[in-house]
Symmetry: C2
Amino acid sequence: MIPFQVQVLYDFSGETNTSELSINVGEVLTVTRDDVGEGWWEGRNSKGVCGLFPESYVERISSAPPALPPMNPLPVTPAPAYQSVPPVYDNDFVSNAPSDDDDWDDYPEVQHHQTKVLPYNQGSYDNSRYQNDDNISESNFGDGKGTAHTKRNLNRFSTFVKSGGESYILGTLKVSVAADQRVVISKHDEVTFSWPQIVNAYTVHITSPKKESKLKGLKSYIAYQLTPSFNNIKVSRRYKHFDWLHERLMEKFSIMAVPPLPDKQISGRYEDQFIEHRRLQLQEFVNYVCKHPVFRQAKQAERDPLLGANYCLTIQAPEKELMSSIVDSKIDANLSFVQNLDSAIKNLMSVAMDQAKKHQGPYKREFAKISESFHRLGFALSSEEKSGMLSLPSAITNIGVAYSDIGQYYEDQPKYDWEPLSNTLYLYKGLTSAFPEIFALHKGVQQKRKECEKNNMPPAELNDIRRRNDVLTYAIFAEMNHFKVQRSIDMKAAMQSYLKEQINFYKKIVTRLEQTLMQLDDC
Amino acid sequence: MIPFQVQVLYDFSGETNTSELSINVGEVLTVTRDDVGEGWWEGRNSKGVCGLFPESYVERISSAPPALPPMNPLPVTPAPAYQSVPPVYDNDFVSNAPSDDDDWDDYPEVQHHQTKVLPYNQGSYDNSRYQNDDNISESNFGDGKGTAHTKRNLNRFSTFVKSGGESYILGTLKVSVAADQRVVISKHDEVTFSWPQIVNAYTVHITSPKKESKLKGLKSYIAYQLTPSFNNIKVSRRYKHFDWLHERLMEKFSIMAVPPLPDKQISGRYEDQFIEHRRLQLQEFVNYVCKHPVFRQAKQAERDPLLGANYCLTIQAPEKELMSSIVDSKIDANLSFVQNLDSAIKNLMSVAMDQAKKHQGPYKREFAKISESFHRLGFALSSEEKSGMLSLPSAITNIGVAYSDIGQYYEDQPKYDWEPLSNTLYLYKGLTSAFPEIFALHKGVQQKRKECEKNNMPPAELNDIRRRNDVLTYAIFAEMNHFKVQRSIDMKAAMQSYLKEQINFYKKIVTRLEQTLMQLDDC
């Protein structure tokens, strides 16, 4: 091969004592081998250091003017055929093992569906809307640089076009939807509409993350074991599989709130704590997907055209025409609700993370200090008094031991209370932050409809446009309702679990101190 | 009167909105009235500000050379007659009201016993050996400036002379002790000797500190109510009375470990917290005095000559001659024991004080932050969901209320656990730090005996010297034994009480969280 140059899109920290090369965003590398396989390339950085790095972390620098709009880099190694991708949703995701697992990596994979013709830039997804400090609102524009991996351009019009709003409202997509694919929205009361009830509820339990390796240890990854409740057959999946599923959900269900994946953290990714944390967040993701009446049932058709707003073509909604004023006030109230909720969730999350850290650092240290003081006093007294298990000095030393244990309880505790609570909050932060974009799409559709109403359009066509607008509104109302119902259930469960663990924690301290007091009473 | 100049010995913070003048150590004042009464003078500082200050806080600047060694300032106003001082020890202190209570103040009173002829500088006591950072050891010399209120000169020879060591070992004091005044030391085993057993044990309970005032509110003070268990008759006493008693004990029992008084803190002395803290420390002081077989029984005779080492003339000790080598090794071991203990106690005290502060500051703030986050989340959710007592948002708000309550528990807690523990530690810090000085006195006496043995002394006289040395040794052994026995009892009780309160504290949190969980379960 002829060496070529690439630019780094993501930071990557090579594991020490391997052939991996650490690379930084923006850096230019010279690729010396593109036939390493398994998604790895060999290259040399500007300092002359050679090593392996994930090919999907870099972008080929082309000297020719781009033939395509700035999207993904062209696949340089043969990408796996679309068919080799694990089937996506529902039992497909968990019951059929991917046919070619080894072709996958834990890193962002964006090139595998490049061949599909879609009404929007399907490669432009990134997970950044779930980052800590993101702020999804109409004012949050993309940076306009337009590589496939930069933030999505979120201005209203762009969202509207990309999410299929325009093609939907204008009815440009002509597809027929089979009766068994129809999703029925039902009416509860004048303002409450909902997705179909779930029948055959199932769960998928994620367990035993295992480190596995390939290529004689050159490459390792974590495999999670997924056990669906409907067949209890364990399958092995990796982060990238979840990532791929998540991407498909984002692509298809942009009018709904797709739960977030854990962050694509790279460095330290094989540390037990990180892996367990990721497992728990993946579990939250899977739980939400399984409990969502639409997500859980969706089947991925090849070249599925019913994406974004066009998904509404699948929907059978109540016939009643909706009044704009009622719709607008409900959407506006909800927008302000989710904005407040977003800020409250972020606040509690930051307190939760802060407390988790303090438990493991400062609080533990306080107990260590207390422990040491009692130890010292016990020791100082033991030099005069008779020693032995039942002496006062040893009872005082025992108090020191007790506080050292309590410090350990503090260190261990966050994984029982603050961290699980954080995981649920993380889920709801992601879901909450999805709504402003959905509302923006809705506004775009309404806008287009008003434009159509101003122009002289045939009444039949205008009627269709109004109806399509209403169906989208019904879909968004159903999604809001689902979000509300599920949130109440999940938040309540999370708070209950948190409080139970807090109670257990303080009870454990009580028990430990009671033991200590008994030893003291006996001396 | 002719105005005269004084120099300030102690800082004094005048209460605002009174005629009091704030004065600082070293400042020179011009006294304009010395007939204000009640221990107050009127004066003017260098800035021309006029006001009242306690006369005992200043020292008259004399232009004539001092006729006396630097001791107390001469009393400028007529000092109360010695007879008006409240009787000191035992039931005298608590059963007879001082005849002229109003002549007393809460500030150091050193001039009332100036007329007594004593073999050492009786005015030189100060409380500094109980200050936080004191370090009582042979290397801790006084600053040599020699005013009555500066630190006591603690070099060994000085201690030896001042505490009557020399006059005692040489037998220069000729007094006869009545049979009923004799204190018998008994032998338990080869190395354990003890003071007489206490018969008719009693306690004195200190309660209800009350702010009282005189001079139309110009002057106010705190009166503590003392109730002795032997007659249950309440008497009122002020800090200065305790101070006076403490001074007498220090004067008379310098071969024993006198419990410390609370610090003579001046500023903020009428704050409830300070007063309560002082009450508890006075209670510790009184408890120790009541439980000490010697202190509790001592009667103050006028011009009592049996002070310091000469107190041994009262003692009837075992006849057996003590072996120097055994004595030395026991004293040395004890010196190193009390030094280690002192350091361990100080360490635990500083942790206790640190924890007490942290409970009231940072820990409480952490819970306030947690509380606020749950409040915010409850509030954010309440804008969408139905409100009412049993809704999820109000249950989440309740979690916020619970953590705010828990924060309050944290703030309140130190007065139940760390502070009482601190008070006991403060007592034992004071007692522990008394021993090096006692051992130094003992070494001085031994030294003197050896000198006598080298000189050609008549054998009978030398015998008496050896015997007197042994009696002192027996006394110190008895005191060490009392210290050990009482310490075990008090330390155990303090630790038990501390642990019980810690258990109650965490139980209270458990109960509060359980309530909160129940409310959440019901929503």
